[in-house]
Amino acid sequence: MKAGVVTFPGSNCDHDVYDVLSKIFSFDTDLIWHQKRHLNNYDLLVLPGGFSYGDYLRSGAIARFARIMDSVIDFALAGGLVLGICNGFQILLESNLLPGAMKVNDNLKFVCKNVSLEVNNNKTTFTNHYREKEIIEMPVAHGEGNYYIDKKGLNSLIDNNQIVLRYANQSENPNGSVENIAGISNKKGNILGLMPHPERCSEDIISPGRRDGYRLFSSIVANLKAGGEQIG
């Protein structure tokens, strides 16, 4: 299994997810420099968290023009597995690989804490090691995680079962996102963007007793080992 983690200038969770993929799940993992044009044969691409290009204009708005992104988009449209975490999710939105947009958190403050999530769709490549409607816990750490989509878009997300993760309830929602959305997929289910950080809760030592991020990666691994067939 081969994975690539894209490093943009300002990415700061690239090494964290690299470590989880390579050390815990034995992926043959590359850090891919943003100025590269071509991708090797990857089974999984990750756009990591951080502040790409300082996020100065709008989160992810500049990163989407990085040289590597054309290849990422081609890879995703051809059905390759793409996981965007936090800033990576924001970049997926800016690149139109996922629908909707991200606004500043409704209380205007950065927030870093553990939140409860509900697994709304466990029939994706990324989530089938969770039970349907299972309540799990993951950390968030963002200033712009207030996901927004218009009514029509939202209906489409719901109709196609694209809302993968929700904050468990209104009080667990740290940013004011529509419908408590924490993570969505594309229609095909090969692209997942989420604000919470699964790589921060995949090891017992830093997340004792609740390695809920582990199962997101183990879902991916199981699906890859089963021959890349998507479940559901």
């Binding site: 300002g10 300082g54 403050k109 950065f110 950080h197 830093i206």
Partner: protein, 729 residues
């Protein structure tokens, strides 16, 4: 040479005597640029001219010390050929006039100190002091500082894992923002800030130079006044994105082997970095400022030399390796320009497009600044301090008093603050903010480090010597309560105007207290920072010598947290309760004044208490440990209840007043909980260390019961404690 300066010394913050000394040493009058250079290099901020003679007695050596004071940051050994570099630094004055950028650039500066040592920064801590939170201006400063830390620290991707915040009127006009940064490195990668080898190139890398922060070092070495807002241009503007690139590029450069030396351009920018690098290597440096990349037009040599534009470094590579440096920095989209060379004549020579504008011996600037023994006088207020009148502070409702203490901003949970900080990035945070000490794993190894900052300014005001010693002891106690072995400290010494003999007396005595405690606990000082002139029109701050400490856990399995774990566990107090209430937060509550006699400190007892808890940790009998500090035993116990919502039944029979038992802040006390099965094992350890201890109760239910005095619902207490700061904003 440009026109000669006449009477310009005052503008540069120098005295007539200092000016005369300069003329004497140069054997001529200095140029404008030269005088500006002397002004910043001989400022307190850069030269430590008022503190050097006091600081020289700090113990700086020890088994674990790989680098003591004198470099950008100190370094301690943690085994396996790995080391930790750490240092604390203040950014008080900038934060007083421009809280967001002041705090942000404070972080930027200290991070650069760490990675110039060759270490990757892995954690930051903040020690903050503000006035009364009811004051609108204080709220503005508080929110601005927190937002600045959040913005810069989160963006650069270094977790903010701990620190402390106190609120007291004395900090109203002059808040304190001290930042400690901690980095991890291999012994082989230790870098130094030295310029050596005549002919080697001198390069400036990172950001372009602008007019921001000119003379920030001089600004830091003056009192704040009503007009200080006009000094806002002296505050630099931070760019965490650029710093992130600079960090990655610098670490890559250090690994490349092309380097002789590297130094952060912090206070006094190009001036201090070039003079200090040359002086350390017994070399000279010649630079042409016309070659420095600038971002504004028509900058004078004075401005370029004294700019404190952020995110810049001075680099001396080996001759012929200029392109290695350029390639690495170009990859990260940064400037790297050769601006001069190392020489063997010991002079700092500044050219402007080939014309000489300054020529001063580097060691004269970096090492020959005047050293002053300032006059000291025992402060008048200390002569009238006496024990508090117990009649005036009797409690008629202990439960209510405990609730009030738990919701006072100094004691209340700082969750509102630390939830704005990314404390998890880099995935090493085992125990984060809100604990006695933060714990970080060392990736790939079984060991971990523990980090804390501590200082109670009120103790230092009422008894500078004991207050300084207590700050060290409390830091060590926090490390021990987290399962670690204290290794070494960095000190952030914040005081008023050193020209005031009473302030200087506070300074000298606080440092003496630190010295004695460090010697006793065998925790050397590997670096630090002095910040004088912390005064506003309302007067000086309390003396606040902040201690940042690093400890080592041989195994991550030895980590301990403060929270009670299980019903039925036994609660013990290690140490002894003394009938004292002086300097306590309880007094602030009752008479709105922290007064009286500072808690006693017996360093031998302190050492034994720490040793006892450490032995018990090693024997794996400690389930929780929490240091007794502000708010006393009652608050300590409450804080241990919160995380798991567990109650306690505590019954203590002590021949001291109820107020002192509950809220007195006697030192050298640690509350631990153990499983009932470990009772004998634990008591054996305490007895063999001949340390006082007592069983004080059990963990049970959801209520907090302390003798017949307090009976409260843990949930209610926790909610008051957790929301107090947010509610008051």
């Amino acid at each position: 040479m440009s026109k000669l300066a006449e009477n310009g010394w005052e503008k540069e913050g120098l005295t007539k005597e200092e000016y005369d000394k300069i003329v004497d040493l140069l054997k001529r009058k200095p140029t404008d640029t030269e005088l500006g250079i002397f002004g910043v290099m001989w400022s307190e901020h850069c030269s430590y001219k008022n503190s050097k003679l006091v600081l020289k007695d700090l113990p700086t050596e020890g088994e674990c010390v790989l680098q003591g004071p004198g470099e950008n940051a100190g370094i301690v050994d943690i085994g396996d050929n790995q080391a930790i570099s750490f240092k604390i630094e203040s950014h008080n004055h900038p934060s007083a006039v421009e809280p967001f950028q002041g705090a942000a650039t404070g972080i930027g500066g200290i991070i650069r100190d760490i990675f110039t040592m060759g270490a990757r920064p892995i954690a930051n801590l903040n020690s903050l002091r503000f006035g009364n939170l009811n004051n609108k201006r204080v709220q503005y400063l508080f929110k601005g500082v927190v937002a600045g830390i959040s913005s810069y620290g989160n963006s650069i991707g270094i977790p903010t894992v701990g620190g402390e915040i106190y609120f007291d009127d004395v900090y109203e006009g002059n808040p304190l923002v001290n930042v400690m940064s901690v980095g991890l490195l291999d012994h082989a990668d230790i870098a130094t800030a030295t310029a050596r080898g005549a002919g080697n190139p001198v390069m400036v890398v990172g950001a372009a130079t602008g007019r921001d922060g000119i003379k920030g070092a001089s600004f830091a070495s003056d009192e704040l006044t009503e007009e200080s807002d006009e000094d806002r241009p002296a505050v630099q503007v931070g760019d965490p994105f650029l710093e992130k690139l600079l960090l990655e590029a610098s670490l890559e450069l250090i690994k490349s082997g092309a380097l002789i030396g590297i130094q952060d351009m912090g206070a006094a920018g190009l001036t201090s970095s070039s003079a200090e690098m040359a002086s350390r290597g017994d070399s000279g440096i010649e630079i042409d400022i016309a070659k420095v990349p600038v971002r504004e037009e028509d900058m004078t040599s004075y401005e370029i030399m004294l700019s404190e534009s952020q995110e810049r470094m001075l680099v001396v590579p080996k001759k012929g390796k200029e392109n290695v440096v350029k390639d690495i920095f170009e990859k990260w989209g940064l400037h790297a320009e050769v601006i001069g060379k190392v020489t063997d004549d010991g002079m700092l020579r500044i050219l402007n497009d080939g014309n000489k504008v300054a020529e001063i011996s580097a060691s004269l600037l970096a090492d020959e600044a005047p050293e002053y023994t300032r006059e000291t006088k025992k402060p008048e207020y200390l002569r009238t301090i006496k024990a508090v009148n117990r009649e005036k502070i009797k409690s008629d409702n202990f439960s209510e008093d405990l609730l009030k203490l738990l919701s006072s901003p100094t004691i209340a949970s700082k969750k509102w603050v630390y939830e704005q900080y990314d404390h998890m990035v880099m995935t090493n945070t085992v125990v984060g903010p809100g604990s006695d000490a933060a714990i970080l794993r060392i990736e790939g190894k079984n060991k971990a480090i523990a980090l804390t900052t501590d200082c109670n300014g009120k103790y230092c005001y009422l008894n500078p010597y004991r207050g300084g010693a207590i700050a060290v002891c409390e830091a060590a106690r926090n490390i021990v309560c987290s399962g670690g072995r204290p290794l070494a400290i960095t000190d952030g010494l914040n005081f008023g105007n050193p020209m005031d003999p009473e302030i200087y007396w506070q300074f000298k005595n606080s440092v003496q207290g630190i010295i004695e405690a460090c010697q006793k606990l065998k925790t050397p000082v590997i670096g630090g920072n002095v910040s004088f002139y912390n005064e506003s029109p309302k007067g000086a701050i309390d003396p606040t010598p902040i201690i940042g400490m690093v400890g080592l856990l041989d195994s991550i399995s030895e980590q301990v947290t403060m929270d009670f774990k299980k019903e039925g566990d036994l609660i013990y107090l290690v140490g002894k309760n003394i009938d004292e209430l002086g300097a306590s937060q309880y007094l602030k509550l009752k008479i709105d004044k922290v007064d009286g006699i500072v808690p006693q400190l017996d360093l031998d007892l302190e050492k034994r208490v720490q040793k006892t808890v450490r032995s018990a940790v090693k024997e794996d009998v400690i389930k929780s440990a929490h240091d007794c500090s502000e708010g006393g035993l009652a608050v300590t116990l409450a804080e241990s209840c919160f995380e798991n919502g567990l109650g306690i039944n505590v019954d203590i029979d002590e021949p001291i007043s109820d107020e002192a038992l509950l809220f007195g802040e006697s030192q050298s006390r640690i509350v631990v909980s153990i499983a009932p099965d470990d009772l004998h094992k634990f008591e054996e350890i305490t007895v063999s260390n001949s340390v006082p201890y007592m069983k004080i109760g059990t963990v049970q239910g959801g209520e907090y019961k302390f003798n017949e005095l307090i009976n409260l619902d843990v949930g209610e207490m926790k909610s008051k404690w957790e929301t107090a700061i947010e509610v008051s904003l």
